[in-house]
Each structure stands twice: as structure tokens, then as C-alpha cells.
Symmetry: C2
Subunit: 743 residues, 2 copies
């Protein structure tokens, strides 16, 4: 292969380094109004009265949107549950929820108008703890606080535990975290005779299109969602977020409206689910797993957002990549008076792995086994049905985990104390996640009269490098230079349908669509070349922008000329991907198993509890790296992001008030927090269902960091910590407690 | 048929009446600069020196573009001859030609900077008369003033004239006119790492794309030309106009640039070719035509623009729709120091018909024949090769002309004097023009998951109603409601190739492409329905957004669901049109013969020379009217526009200075100038090569007005006028001269 498998330079690089790259915030329409939100100061209250008359009277104010204005349309939205009002109606369920929105001539005027909106609240007691929310006497966020529950099992865990030599039960907690992106949510909406046009920092433009069409009772072709470059998503921009409100406000104002959230408002838009997981695992003395029972709760906040899927996914991920004759999983998604929780890079994955992979080392220690040996003994093997009734595992996990731990010199490593009061150790973790990737993607490839090409895809470019990957796939199939391929993405009016940019799906599924569309163009080129050479198609080869027949060559431009008599024209190809894809590889769900594994060496300062990650090795099974450099970049980004929830990220609530919705009080990783050595090992067995055997990556790297680091702290100090983040204070207290127990 | 053939409401209507319709002037980009041109005050001069230093030093000025800045790029452009510099280099060739362009923070600053650009000219004598320009001692606009010449003949005209009973020779002149559009030329250009993005009021976005790619040495996929709604074109926005300059200025300024011409600047951008035609026709005593010799000159102004094609086309159109055993045509396109002349609704057509159809009545009068009878005697018949080696005539001209004249009661009509000093009479004219339509068009149709559709076409909507027509064709082929079809047009980045929106080609050629793309979608629906019903495709019918099998029906949304397992998706169809089109109807040029015929009744006030058109009947052979109301609208617009050059439009030059580049001094038709009775007769014989037998219209209506009115004036007063426009003064002087001769 000429292009696929090379670390081709990013096609969006020049745009971004030159500042030419356009983001939603740079969209300016004639007559556009600027919007500001009126936030609820209370976490839980009924709205007795809203008087916006003074705000409406302020010169420069075009419109004020409250629940009362949500007429002739659907009032609520949500990815699975339509439980979130576009603006609060009758009740507010979390502090910061918008009770009204202002559209004005400029942001200053809109801000001034915010102060003039009078809202009478009747305060209700808030509930911000998910276990408390399930108590019979709890305040009710919704008619019931249980949002969703998920259960499955196989075998008979009770019998399994009875047959086990040892049974371990541990409980772990995972904090509320916010996926901080450089670009907070931004939307520009126009509502006119043509229908709705929305520019938005949305990861899934077609899902937003479908949601807006439903809310405003319009056909799909009358809603156009355009997504410029996105300044980071990580799931925070999945599904509809501020688009319904901005569009409703534009309808009310009778002019285009721009809403650009502040970082604080973004913190109050979506977050990752906090979790509490109890795992009971039965094992034989030799370490063979027998049975596991899991009980997990996730806090989905004031509205479901993606909480239904997260509740399922954390359950699906509790068994880990291991063989269990008996399994029982029960998970519950709970409403509380906090920021709604939704998608975040590997939904449910880090929460599940934090618990399971921490307990792995607890078990290994109790059995006196090496944690690697314990994992290798129980790992599912390629072709094994690792979840009953689901796609068998493709990946060779043992190979991967040996490579990852080998790179740290695992087998010969011994914990040490390089300096007094400082201890070093290593830890590891391994996970597989059933990517929720829905198989539907379509693409169009256009070969122009000069032999250059345009690829039309719905995949949004949010920094992951999708445009580059798609250009590589098209160039590879068309036998042309990547420089001659341009990717245009994410305008639902013009590019064909794509389900979403998430669940690590784009390279695998949109990649197949682009490949199919390129092949359809290539077939037309071959047909034209067959006429030209008066030969059989068999004898033709496509390379370097030409079709060759023996020593004779005819360039793509001449073939297009042949079809259109030299008068312009172009060739068009289409690619369709669904579970019925001709490859037959997409029939079973999950479309692929995403693999993530990591090993860390840490240094713990016993005096301060400060933990430093000295080395981190991440193993990523991508099947085939279309662009190795970008694959590594995805993995590094994921692992670095996970350092946040591992070491210090946590949204803190007090009496229902979010105390740290800003980057001063809420700490995200900086370069100073990175490991001194970071290594990504790409595992390429060509066993994925995507083009050239690729499978999805970019989420797997998030999953193993926290347990690998906690396991390394244990290895270094003998202290086991079951709560995140691993702040110096928490580590120091654990060390002190251990000392006291020790004597 | 359900949709085609109905006067469906315009899909762009709501947009336009609500003010939501966006035009290029409404495009505003962050950091966008505003441009002003530095016009040459002289019609002909060499540029000795340009000093822009003071302009560049003015605060708020970003860049000044002069010939010196045209580096690393092509310096000239043009549709056939690349003879027009992007800004003047070394020499200016007409008054108003841009010698420099300013990009500044706002228009006021740019205008101020214009005054600060110092240009030293060495004045050269101008030539503004095309015959003078061909004199040996004429000043030279270009190395030679002859831009292009065109010759053809058949038979032997000398022998023909010798065999004729009578030979008539007459010379006619046609003025310089400007196609005034509500929207002057406007362009916004961005030149960045992605390449070039241009928003422009361009009729032919793909031709502009190709021109910009050539000038700036970029591949076609790096140049994106986006055309919002256009406020009227009529040919004035054909090919590249201000786009190369605006793009070069954006490159120089390093930021987006907006150039919106004033009406005066638009007058100095392009105009229709003035013409002088001498026709010598030999006839037998019974009126049978024997031979014709034509000598025509067209003034293409300072640059060729589309002058090469116009020189050819006026020649092609000199024989008219009549049978001649002997024919000789010689035409010459000449450079002068005036506004460059380009495309204008039926290039060369009105100029040729003015001469030929006026002489028809001179001949008829001399022979004592009825002008209708003379025409019927000599009209070509369907299937006749009306031009040697070209597509035989499809149209039944005799049928059409009888219908048109019949509507005025031609055969029983007698000239009259309703009041003293007022005379009434009738006249007619008939023409066929070989539409220069290039056959290349492509289209994409997308059927979305809810059964609504999007049609992607390169045809620009400039008021002619193309979006409506394309929606009707797609709806017809897909058996769905037009309301469920949305047409998105004219962004070369996203819609597939279309040659141009001109030459009356869109309904015929893009219509075929849309039909083909819709059929490709329908075929996919039938294939899915065949699976669904487990039936043979034969037994299926497509109607009302569903496929029926006997009494069973399955809607389009369910068929899309079937293909994508209910998970979104869409069906995509492509349409290709070229001379190799499967219909086989596009092999020969012209793609179709455009027919235009008209008859007028006028009233002449002998005291003032004022002419009023009482009744006008226009006959339009459209083959099949996809939308009868729009077809009539096109024809009415064309005839009304032709009243301008017939009655009062003329660009007046004195010493190379254009005296009337504004709507005060240059009179265009108003409602007060319209005939009291206007009738369009649509002739639908289904004999066109387009969808449902359609052929192009919209230009034919322009052609016959001037000769029909002049012939009516002759019928009323016995006075023959051979110069346009027919101003009261010109008519009055002719009446006085006739009186003197008469007595």
C-alpha cells in the first residue's frame, strides 16, 4: 500500500497553524443576535413566576425565551429519554440550568437583560448523592429518581461462589469529571422560510438534525446542521446540547442567534457519570476465575442525556476481558440535582476498569500471584465469546499485554526506594470495551476533471484527524496522491448520512464508506479505460493517477475527458455501510471490541503523598494503523486525559452548588503532569472489521490509566486506594492509615 | 404526470418574499476587508508610473493591488481569449478599467485610498467605432483590432444572385446595451491554506472555478466557488468577471476581501455587442429565396470576453429560419476602446434578427406580398437541415407562427388611424438560434430516511426558477410530493459539475441529469421493494412516496430503514449528461434549436414620434413546459427586456467617455412601457431533447421584439427605420424625412 499505513501529514494542519481554520464561533450572519442564558441559582426548585417584561423592554433586546414560548413545538429533548426541557419549565433540577435565554444586539446588552429577568422560585431540597437519591424519602428530581437499570447474567453465581476457594468483594468510587475542551459549546441558529440552518460544535450533526426536525416538526431536508472545525469534543458535544435552545430563541427573535457558552456554562451542560461499583469475585487457589457479581451505580445528574447507554455500558464492561463461568451484573442509573451526565470517551469504561482492574491486583496479592500471571491465566482468547451472545473476541490480548508489560521490564522489576521516603513501583491494567458504534455511514467521492478528488463525509473533524485518514483511504483506493484529495465534511445539507463521530467508529465505519465510494469511482475509471484500451478489465492496473495497460498509461483527466468529450464533468462514487455490509463483518454487535491496556511505573513521596508517573506504556490494538502517527496521537491524548480523573479531576458539589466550574479550581492535566517516558505500542493484527483490517481506537487509552497507577502505588507502598482521584492528600492519608494499622 | 407540467409554486418564493434569501453581498467573513477600484479616467493610455505608497500608508488600508503585484500567477483571463489583465498592466484600454484595487478596513477608507493612488498616463487616441478601428491608420487597442472573424457558405451566392428576379441589400445597426440587473457584480474571496473560496454572483461557478485554478495554479478541488441567490444575470455574470481581481487582492491583503460593484462600475464591466449588419438577399418574383450574403461587424470593446462566440453566433443566425440554396456569411469581431462586450441573453440573436427580419418585410413590401405569406413560403420544415452539417430542425415553425399572428387577427388586420395624427399597424418576426448549450451536466439526488429528498445541482438560481424546475423533475421521477424535495445548488465544493447556467440549457441538460439521478434512486427503492415483497420488479409501481405491489404499499422511509436496519442512512443517485447521453439525442450540435417568434401591434404618434406597443404576442416553442407559469414568466421577461434595446436603451460614448452609466441617463423599461396586452403562446410538441421532450427557452423571447415593432411601425406609417433604438426623436425624424420625400 502506498498511502495507508504511512504517517501522512495532517490535511487540517496548515489551516490550523495558519489560523485559517474556522470554528463555529467565527460564524457571523447579517442581523445576527447574541444570546445569554439566565441560570438558576438553585439546584432544585419549582418556578412560581417568570417576569421578563423589564428584560424585553431593554433597548437592544430582541427576544426572551422562557418555557412559555415553547409553543407549537416539542418542549423536551434527549438522546434516549426526551426528559430535558429546552429551557426550564415549571421546575429547575440543577444549579445553572437555563430558566430563560436572551437574544440581543450584542453580548453586553444580553448580559444586562439577564439581570432584569425576575424569577420567583420555591426552593426544594436537593439530592446530589446517588445512593441517597434511591432512598424512599429522597427528594424527587423526576417522578422517580431511578433513570434506568440494566441486568444480565449467565451461569449461577451463587453456585460459583460456593465452588470458589476464595471470594473477594470490594467497592470502588469514580468521581464526577468534566471533559474540558478548548472550545466550549457554541451554536449559531437561523430559522427562516427555508427551515432551520444551524452551525454548531456538534460531534453528531445528523443526530442533531434529526432531533431538531422532531422538535420543530420539519422534514429532515429542511434542517441543515453545519459543523466547522471543533475545538475538542470527547463526547461533551455528542447528541443535541444547546442547539434546540438556540434554534428556539432564533425562532422567537426572528433573526439568527449566536450562543457561545462560557467555560462555567459548559461545566453545567454535561459531565462524565460518577460511579460506585461493588465487585464480588470468586477464584480458585490457582487463580482461575469462577464467578463474578457486580453492582454498579452511575449518577446521570438532572437529566438522562446518555445515561441509559452509560448504565448499560458500565455493566457490559464489568467482566473485563476475562473468562467467567458464572456472571451476574446489575447496574443502576440515578437522577440527582447535578449537571446532567452524558457521553465521555469510553462511556462507562474507566469507571468499570477502575474497579475490576484494581480488584485484579487485590486478588493477585492475596493469592501471592504475579498480577500479569493472574491476567494471562484468565484472559479470553481470540475467537472466544467473551460476552454471551455477542461478537467473539478478535484481539490477541495476551500478546498485547506481554508487549506492554515487557516494555517496562515487568518480569524482572522489583519495587524500590531510590531515595529515603520515596518509593517506586509498577502496575498494569487491561480492558476491552464493546464499542457502541452503530454501523450506518455513507460517503461520496468525486473525481474532478483534472484528476483531483473531493471526499464528502459526515465525520466531524474534532482534532482526531479524520479528514487525513479519509483522504488516505480514498487516495489508496484511487491510486493517487493524497495531496490531490480534499475532504469536505459535516454539512447535513450536502454530505450524505453518517450516524455519529464517536464510539471510536469513524475510521472503521466511515472508512469503509469512503473506501466503497472510492472503489465505485475506480470501477468507472476502469470501465472507461477498458473502452480506451479496448482491453479486458482484468489487464488493467490503477496507480499514480492513471490506469495502466501493459506499458500504456492513460491519466484520470483523460478518462474524464473521454466520458464528457473534454468538457468538464466528473465521476461520482457512493459508499454505503450498514450491518448488512457486503464484507459480512458488521452483522454482530459490537462492531468491534476496543482494546486498551497500560502499565505504569510511579514514584510516591511518602511525606507529601505526591505521586509522579515516571513511565507509562499504552497498548492499543488498532488492527491496522491507517496513519500510525495519528493513532499514537489519539492514544497519547486519551492516556493524558485520563491522568486528570486519575490524579486530580473532580467536580465538587456542596448543597447542590458546583464549587469549581473553572480551570483555576478544577485542575486538568498540564504538560508538567505527563510521564517522563510515554510509549504507545500499536498492535496491528489486521483483525478489525474496518478497511485494511482496522478497528477503532482513541477511547481504549483512557481506560487503564487509573487502575494501572493505583496498582503501581500499591506495588510501591503496599497501600490500596479505592477512590479517585489519587490526590496527594488522599494518598498521604492512606499511607498514614496503613502506618497506624501496621503498628 | 403528477408534478411536471403543473405551475408549481416557486420553491425560492418564500425565501425571497420573506427577505431570507441570501445574496453574495450578505456574506460577511471575520476580518473581511472591503475593496474599491481605481478606475482609469482615460479610454486609451499607457501607464508610465503608479505610485500607491500614499494609499498604502493610509491607516486602515490592508493592500493595494496593481499590475506589479500579479506575480507567481497568470496575469490575464477570459472565456476564450485570455486577453484581459486582472488589473491593467502597462496600458488601459477603456475608460473605467481598473488600474489598481484597494483593500481596507471599510469602504470609506478604501475610497479615500483610491484618491491617493497616483497614476501617470501617456494618453493615446481612442477608437470607439468598429469600422474606424479596422482602418489601417486606426489606433491599436491590441496588436491588431480584429479580434475574431468567422466565415461559412454553401452553394454559390454570386450564381444565386444572378438567377434571382430581385436582389435586396440593406444595412442595419444595433446599439451597445447593458444588461441591467438589480444586483451589480459582487464577490467575496478568501485565499488561505485550504486554497481559494469565492462567493460570487457568478452564473457559471464551475467555469469560474476552472479559471481561478488556472490563474493561481491550484488543483480544481482547492478552489471552491459558492453562488448564493443571484439578483439577475442575463449573461452579464457569465464566465469570470471580478473574481480574479478580488481573489488576487485577497491574496495580497492576506485576508478575505469583498468587492461589490456600483451600477456605474457594472456598466464598465460588460455589455452587449453593438452590431452593423449588411444583408443582400436574392429572391424570385414569387418570393422564393435564392441566395443570401451577410456581412456583419460586432464591437467587442476593449477585451474579447465572449466576443469570439458572439462573432460566430451572429453569423450562424443571419440565415434565419429560412431555406436558402446559396448562402455566404462573413462576420468580424472588433476591438474598440469601450466596455468589453460579452454574453447577453441570446448572443448575436437580436442583432441578427433585427437585420434579417426587418429585411423580410422590406422584401415582402417590394414584392407586394403579405409578410406572413413570404415567411411561410420560405420557412424550414421539421427535419430539414436548416444549417449545413448541423442538427436538423425539430420545431414546427409554421404552426407556431400561425398561432402567434392568428392571435393578432393578422390575416384580417388593416392598418388604421384611430385618431388624427395617430397610426396603428402590426408587424412580426421569427427566429431560430442554435443554442450554444454545452451538454455536460451532472447531479446528485439524496433520499433521506424520512422520505424527503435533497437535489444537488450546479445550476445557479438567478430568478429563472431553476430550483423549482429541478424539484419538479426529481419529484416526478421519484413519485413524491414536490414539497418533500429541496434543491441545494451552486457550491463547486459540494455539488457535482455543471457546465454553466446560460444558453437556455438548464432545464434541458441539468434537467436530464436530475432525472437520471432520481431514476438511480428509484431503482434502489425498487430493488429494496423487490426484496420486501419478494416479487419481481415488474409488478411494482412508485407513487406518493411509496412503492406499491398490488394493494400492498411500503413507504420510502421503511425502504431506507430496510437497507440501514432503521438506523438513519439515505439513498444516493447520480446523473451524468454529456453528448454521449444514453438518450442519443445530444450527439449533434446544437443540442436544440431555440425558437422565438413575436407579433406586435403599435401606435405611432406622428407629431412626437412616440411609439406605443398596444399588443405583443410571443410564441415560445418549449417542447414541454415543465412549469408553464415559469415558462411564460421567462418569455415575458425576455420580451420586456428587449423593449429596452428596441425603444430606448443605448450606451453613448463621446471621446471614449461613457456618458450614461446610470439609470437616470440610461433608460431601462418600466411597467409603464409594457404593452397593454401581452400574450405568450407556449408551443409544446414534445420534440426537445430534454426531459419529457423539453427544450430551452428564455432567450428566444428577446429576439423578435425589435424587428416586429419596426415592421409594425412600417405597417402603420410606411416608414422603415434601420437603426435602434426606436426613440421618439429617431421615429419623428424618419417621419419628417418620409414626408419631404413624399412631397
Amino acid at each position: 500500500m502506498q498511502v495507508v499505513g504511512t504517517s501522512a501529514k495532517r490535511v487540517d494542519g496548515p489551516d490550523k497553524v495558519s489560523g485559517a481554520a474556522a470554528y463555529t464561533g467565527e460564524v457571523h450572519l447579517p442581523g445576527m443576535a447574541y444570546a445569554k442564558l439566565v441560570p438558576s441559582p438553585l439546584p432544585h426548585a419549582t418556578i412560581k413566576r417568570i417576569d421578563a417584561s423589564r428584560a424585553r423592554a431593554l433597548p437592544g433586546v430582541y427576544a426572551v425565551l422562557t418555557g412559555a414560548e415553547l409553543v407549537g413545538m416539542e418542549q423536551t429533548y434527549g438522546s434516549e429519554r426526551k426528559d430535558r426541557p429546552i429551557v426550564a419549565i415549571d421546575k429547575v433540577r440543577f444549579q445553572g440550568e437555563a430558566v430563560a435565554a436572551i437574544a440581543a444586539v450584542d453580548e453586553e446588552t444580553a448580559e444586562a437583560a439577564v439581570e432584569l429577568v425576575e424569577v420567583d422560585y420555591e426552593e426544594l431540597p436537593p439530592v446530589t448523592d446517588m445512593l441517597a437519591a434511591l432512598e424512599p424519602d429522597s427528594p424527587l428530581v423526576h417522578p422517580k429518581n431511578l433513570c434506568h437499570e440494566y441486568h444480565y447474567d449467565w451461569g449461577d453465581v451463587e453456585r460459583g461462589f460456593a465452588e470458589s476457594d476464595h471470594v473477594f468483594e470490594d467497592t470502588f468510587t469514580f468521581p464526577m469529571v468534566y471533559h474540558y475542551a478548548m472550545e466550549p459549546h457554541t451554536c449559531v441558529a437561523r430559522y427562516d422560510a427555508e427551515g432551520i440552518t444551524v452551525w454548531s460544535s456538534a460531534q453528531h450533526p445528523f443526530i442533531v438534525r434529526d432531533e431538531l426536525a422532531r422538535i420543530f416538526h420539519l422534514p429532515l431536508n429542511s434542517v441543515r446542521v453545519i459543523v466547522p472545525y471543533i475545538g475538542g469534543g470527547f463526547g461533551s458535544k455528542s447528541y443535541a446540547k444547546i442547539e434546540p435552545l438556540t434554534t428556539a430563541l432564533a425562532r422567537e427573535a426572528g433573526r439568527p442567534v449566536r450562543l457561545a457558552l462560557t467555560v462555567e456554562e459548559a461545566f453545567k451542560t454535561v459531565r462524565r457519570h460518577s460511579a460506585r461499583a461493588t465487585i464480588k469475585t470468586g477464584v480458585m487457589a490457582d487463580g482461575t476465575f469462577v464467578a463474578r457479581e457486580c453492582l454498579a451505580y452511575v449518577d446521570t445528574g438532572a437529566y438522562a442525556d446518555n445515561g441509559v447507554r452509560v448504565t448499560q455500558r458500565i455493566g457490559d464492561r464489568m467482566p473485563g476481558p476475562y473468562r467467567f463461568p458464572h456472571m451476574k451484573v446489575d447496574t443502576y442509573g440515578v437522577y440527582t440535582n447535578t449537571t446532567p451526565a452524558g457521553s465521555y470517551r469510553s462511556i462507562g469504561g474507566p469507571q468499570a476498569a477502575w474497579a475490576c482492574e484494581s480488584q485484579m491486583d487485590i486478588i493477585a496479592a492475596a493469592l501471592g500471584m504475579d498480577p500479569l500471571a493472574l491476567r494471562l491465566k484468565n484472559l479470553a482468547v481470540p475467537g472466544e465469546e467473551v460476552r454471551r451472545g455477542r461478537r467473539p473476541l478478535e484481539a490477541d490480548l495476551a500478546m498485547g499485554i506481554k508487549a506492554v508489560t515487557g516494555s517496562l521490564g515487568w518480569t524482572s522489576y522489583r519495587p524500590s526506594s531510590p531515595r529515603p521516603g520515596v518509593r517506586r513501583g509498577i502496575g498494569m491494567a487491561c480492558s476491552i470495551t464493546n464499542a457502541g458504534a452503530n454501523p450506518t455511514s455513507t460517503a461520496i467521492v468525486r473525481l474532478l476533471a483534472d484528476g483531483s478528488a473531493i471526499v464528502l463525509v459526515g465525520t466531524t473533524e474534532l482534532g482526531q484527524g479524520s479528514r487525513t485518514t479519509m483522504a488516505q483511504i480514498a487516495a489508496e483506493e484511487l491510486g493517487m496522491s493524497m495531496d490531490a484529495v480534499r475532504v469536505i465534511s459535516s454539512d447535513t445539507g450536502i454530505v450524505p448520512y453518517d450516524r455519529s463521530t464517536g464510539s471510536s467508529r469513524s475510521t472503521t465505519l466511515m472508512g469503509l464508506a469512503v473506501q466503497g465510494a472510492a472503489v465505485e469511482v475506480r470501477d468507472q475509471l476502469l470501465e472507461l479505460a477498458t473502452e480506451h484500451f479496448e482491453s479486458a478489465p482484468g489487464g488493467l492496473t490503477v496507480a499514480d493517477g492513471a490506469v495502466a495497460h501493459g506499458d500504456e498509461r492513460i491519466g484520470f483527466p483523460d478518462l474524464v475527458k473521454q466520458k464528457f468529450d473534454g468538457e468538464g464533468g466528473e465521476l461520482i462514487g457512493r459508499g454505503y455501510v450498514s450491518s448488512q455490509h457486503e464484507s459480512g463483518k458488521l452483522k454482530q454487535e459490537p462492531v468491534f471490541w476496543e482494546v486498551g491496556m497500560g502499565a505504569a511505573e510511579v514514584e510516591v513521596d511518602e511525606a507529601t503523598g505526591q505521586v509522579r508517573i515516571l513511565r507509562y506504556v499504552s497498548g492499543i490494538d488498532c488492527g491496522k494503523a491507517i496513519n500510525p502517527q495519528q493513532a499514537e496521537g489519539q492514544d497519547e491524548g486519551a492516556a493524558m486525559q485520563a491522568i486528570g480523573h486519575t490524579m486530580f479531576e473532580e467536580m465538587v458539589y456542596e448543597d447542590g452548588q458546583l464549587l469549581n466550574p473553572n480551570l483555576i479550581d478544577y485542575r486538568v492535566p498540564t504538560f508538567a503532569d505527563l510521564p517522563e517516558v510515554f510509549e504507545t505500542i500499536l498492535i496491528e493484527n489486521g483483525d478489525g472489521p474496518g478497511p485494511y483490517g482496522a478497528k477503532g481506537i482513541g477511547e481504549g487509552g483512557v481506560v487503564s490509566v487509573a487502575p494501572a497507577v493505583a496498582n503501581a502505588i500499591y506495588n510501591a507502598t503496599g497501600v490500596r486506594i479505592k477512590e479517585l482521584p489519587l490526590t496527594p492528600e488522599r494518598v498521604w492519608r492512606a499511607l498514614q492509615a496503613a502506618k497506624r494499622e501496621g503498628g
